[in-house]
Symmetry: D2
Subunit: 110 residues, 4 copies
C-alpha cells in the first residue's frame, strides 16, 4: 500500500532536518529547485517523441518535481490536495466546456 | 476535509474528457506544460525576496504545477505517493547525512 | 578580437551539419533545449546569493543558452540584433519611464 | 542595417537606468528572468507541432530571452560573441563527430 501524503511529508521533513537543510529552504529557492527539476524532466523528452522517452528516467525526474512541490506547499502550511481541488474549480470557470471543447487555445484568447 | 489524490484524479480526468483534451495530453506536452507553470510560479518571486511574494498567487501557480504533475503520473499509470516514497529512499543514498549535512553542494560534487 | 555573430552562426551550422543534427533541430525542440540550458544556468544560483555563484560555470551555461537562441533565430531566418532592437522599442512602450521608474511591477499591473 | 550588439547593450543600459532598475538586476534574478522568458517562448509551442506556432509570438519571446542573456553577460563584463565562440570549441570536444554523428544522445552517455 502507498504511504499517504502526510507520511511522505514527515519523511521529507526528517530528511531535511537530518541534513540541516532548512536554512536553504526559503520559498524562492524551493520554487527555483522545482523548476530546475522540471527542466530535467523535460530533458527526457528532448529531440524525441513522447513515446521514446525512458519511463524510468521520467519517473525519477517527476518524483523530484513533486518532492519540491510538496515541500513548498509545506513551507506555507498548505495541503496539496486542497490547493489542487480549489484550482480545478477555478480552471473550470476559466475554461467553460462550451468554449474550450476540442481546442488548446489559452483562456485569455478563448 | 481534503479530497484524496484519487478523487482529484477523477476530477481531472472528467475535466479533460468534457473538454475533449486527451488528444493534446501526450507525455511530452504535459511535461512542457508543467515546466511553463513552474516558470509562472517562479515569476511570483522575480526581483523579490521570498517573503515579499504574494501567497495567493504562489498558491495558484503551485496548484497548476501539481495538477500537471498528477496528470503526467496518471498518463503512465503511476501513483504519485509511490513515486515520491521511492525517490526519497533514492535521494537518501545520493545524499548521505555524513557528507551532506549543512551543505547545499550537489551530490556529484560531494 | 571577437568573432561576429555571423561567423558564430557559420560555425554553428557547420557543427550541426558535421554531426547530421539538422534532423533534430525543429523549432519546438530548439526552444525546449534553450529552456533546459536556462535551468542549468539557474542551477548555478540555487541555494545561493548572486555573488556566490561560480562565474566560470555561469559563463558556460549562459553560452549554451545563447547558442540555442542563435540557432532558433537562424531556423526562422532572423537576425538576433534586429529582433532585440525591435523588442527594446516595444518594451519602452510597455514600460513608460513615468510609470515604471523604480518599480519591478509587471507591465499589466502598472 | 542591423544595430551592433554593442549598440543594443547601450540601449539596454539606458533603458534600465532611465527606469532605475539596476537595483533589481542582480545576476540571480537576471538568470531567473531569462528562464521565465524561455518558458514563455516554449508556451508558443505547447500542444502544437513546431510548424503551427505563431512566428510573430515566437520572435517576441525569443527577443526577451536574448535581452536578458545580453544583460546577464554585461553584468559580468562578458562579450556574448566571445563566450559563444569559446563554448562551440568546448562542445566540439564533448561531441566528437565520430561518436555524435546522427544521434541525439547526451555527451555523458555517448
Amino acid at each position: 500500500m502507498s504511504p499517504s501524503i502526510e507520511t511522505i511529508l514527515q519523511q521529507l521533513r526528517q530528511f531535511r532536518d537530518e541534513r540541516d537543510w532548512a536554512q536553504f529552504h526559503n520559498a524562492k529557492d524551493l520554487a527555483l529547485a522545482l523548476s530546475i527539476e522540471a527542466a530535467e524532466l523535460n530533458e527526457q523528452f528532448l529531440w524525441k517523441t513522447a513515446e521514446s522517452a525512458n519511463p524510468t528516467r521520467v519517473r525519477e525526474e517527476l518524483a523530484d518535481v513533486l518532492l519540491y512541490a510538496v515541500q513548498l506547499a509545506d513551507k506555507y502550511g498548505w495541503s496539496i490536495e486542497e490547493l489542487m481541488h480549489e484550482k480545478i474549480a477555478c480552471n473550470a470557470e476559466k475554461y467553460p466546456v462550451s468554449k474550450a471543447k476540442g481546442t488548446a487555445t489559452k483562456y485569455d484568447e478563448l
